[in-house]
Amino acid sequence: MSTQVAARRRGSGTRRRGLSLAPVAWIAIALYAAFLLYPIVQSVIQSFTDRNPLKPESSFVGFANYIELFQDPRLARSLGFTLVVVVFVTVVANTLGLMFAMLLNRSTVNYRVMRTLIFIPQVLSGVIVAFIWRSILTQNGLLNVTLQNLGLTDTAISWIGTPELATLSICVVVSWITIAFSTVVYTASLQSVPAELYEAAKVDGAGVFGRFRNVTFPMIAPGMTISVTLSLITTLKLYDVIAVLTGGGPANSTKSVAYYLIDVAFTNNRFGYSSAIAIFLLGLTALVAYTTTGLLRRREAHL
């Protein structure tokens, strides 16, 4: 064996022989550059033009798109809606996800089956989830049917037909999807907490609440960073649930920024202006991701 190695070593003139990986790596980088980096650069450039695919020429308009952006009442409205959904979903999904994780943090078959079931909303596509909820929430949908069967209401409630209830419906449906994810992340975090810490806390006379505050809560900090940041980012780019559940209505009340941006680009054909909104959304996402990770990481570091 060793003589073979020695012989081979002697036989090889250069240390590196055979085919290099570089060409494969460069193909991958080129594809990434073409389909991710270039589109971002393209968006930045277009955001300073009035580009419209229906017009042959486009010209530079300076900051006009960005000025319009800050004065656009539709964008302001969609931004307001987006922030409501993002805050609602992040708070509700992380609170309930943590509670579910604590409730289900046991390893018998029963609890494993329950955790399996709870993750299913994450596995289904947003379109399917939204169709299921739409058949529950529409005017003659299954929720109203049930409420009427039980004699709780006489008139059908318009769960996705009025701006306030439609906003609430979107919040609930997106939370439902996100809770599934948070529960799994928090379960993973809880399982990494060493039992000795609880014993020590107990010896020190800490009650259930004390143990949660002083042991569980600090120890799940890394999981919380992940869960909160991902809830924020995924909710910021929300599209499919809205498309199916409300189509942005009623009266544009449930158009998220991400949804409005697609509208401006593909329905109004205003590529220039939509690019400005895209850059705005990118900045917003980066800001939110950076700030929350920073804040939550600091909490981790304080342990």
Binding site: G18, L37, P39, Q46, L104, S192, G207, T285
Partner: protein
């Protein structure tokens, strides 16, 4: 949860299979570490643990109620569904499934075929490319490596809407608009690549460098080391990447909708979206199609569950 300091053991943890032992250990962590006690207290403990189990099941069932409604309604007639949406399917009917499969537009069959095609081709090209790229990146000097990883980190954060219109324009320029090659190509080159690179590079950090050095001393080239040594060692990471990207590509909505356009045959997700507006009041039909559309990802999830959750956990803990 318990509100007093009364000790509480776990009812099911009385005898010792491995998982029961695990259960006891985990439970002890937030219940009571003291050894089992006997007498009236133990009965109370068992009752409490039973109460906890009942509560956990009630919460879980309430949470998955919409899934139950969709699943049971797929096997009920419209009248049954409207009479009582929560009742189990009795009598049981396969009419919805059969009607869904006999649609003249072949929505389910062609949608599933298209989705399988797009997902499989994306993964077949993306996984080796990203894996090789990751190995290559991990062998670069620290500065270049840092820059490359920062560039790929960007891809994890960019909302797909931000790049969608430029991608559609780009595909138009190269003549691949409204085509499956166009969709697959943008799947391979887009944000998914960034995710794959992060998982692979993270995993490569955990591999002992001696293995690779030894092969290099033996005179193997990078390509060969990657294929015969790195790829087999990275199997867990490949499983994570394959499972998650498979699910995301399968469930993707935005890219298929805007890249394929309305005239092409659609993936199952966008096909349902574009065809089902009118079906929203025929619940039996709707849920029948939903069931057929959801069955592949759900079965895939149940089969790969262990790797799935494990991948999610390692991703979560790595941060």
């Amino acid at each position: 949860m318990s509100t007093t300091d009364t000790p509480m053991a776990f009812a099911a943890g009385d005898e010792g299979t491995t998982s029961e032992r695990e259960a006891e250990i985990i439970l002890a962590s937030f219940e009571d570490p003291a050894p089992r006690r006997f007498g009236p207290k133990s009965r109370r403990r068992i009752l409490r643990a039973g109460g906890h189990l009942v509560a956990a099941w009630l919460v879980t069932l309430a949470f998955v109620l919409p899934i139950y409604i969709a699943l049971s309604s797929a096997f009920k007639s419209q009248d049954q569904i409207l009479a009582n949406p929560l009742a189990p399917p009795a009598p049981f009917t396969f009419d919805n499934i059969l009607t869904a499969l006999q649609r003249p537009d072949q929505l389910v069959q062609s949608g599933l075929m298209n989705s399988i095609l797009v997902t499989a081709l994306t993964l077949i090209f993306l996984i080796p490319l990203a894996s090789a790229l990751s190995f290559w990146i991990s062998e670069r000097p620290p500065v270049l490596k840092g820059i490359l990883l920062a560039v790929f980190a960007l891809g994890l954060m960019v909302p797909p809407q931000v790049v969608l219109q430029p991608i559609v324009s780009l595909l138009q320029t190269i003549g691949l608009q409204n085509s499956y090659p166009g969709l697959i190509l943008s799947n391979i080159g887009g944000g998914y690549m960034a995710f794959a690179v992060f998982v692979f590079v993270g995993f490569l950090r955990t591999l002992p460098s001696e293995v690779i050095e030894a092969a290099r001393v033996d005179g193997a080239g990078d390509l060969r080391i990657w294929w015969t040594i790195v790829m087999p060692l990275m199997r867990p990471a490949t499983a994570t990447v394959g499972i998650f990207l498979g699910l995301w590509v399968w469930n993707d909505f935005l890219n298929p909708l805007f890249i394929l356009g309305p005239l092409q045959g659609q993936t199952i997700t966008t096909g349902i979206y574009q065809s089902l507006g009118t079906y929203s009041t025929d619940y039996g039909q709707l849920f029948g199609i939903m069931l057929l559309a959801a069955i592949i990802p759900v079965v895939g999830y149940l089969v790969t569950q262990r790797e799935f959750i494990h991948g999610l956990m390692s991703g979560a803990s790595k941060g």
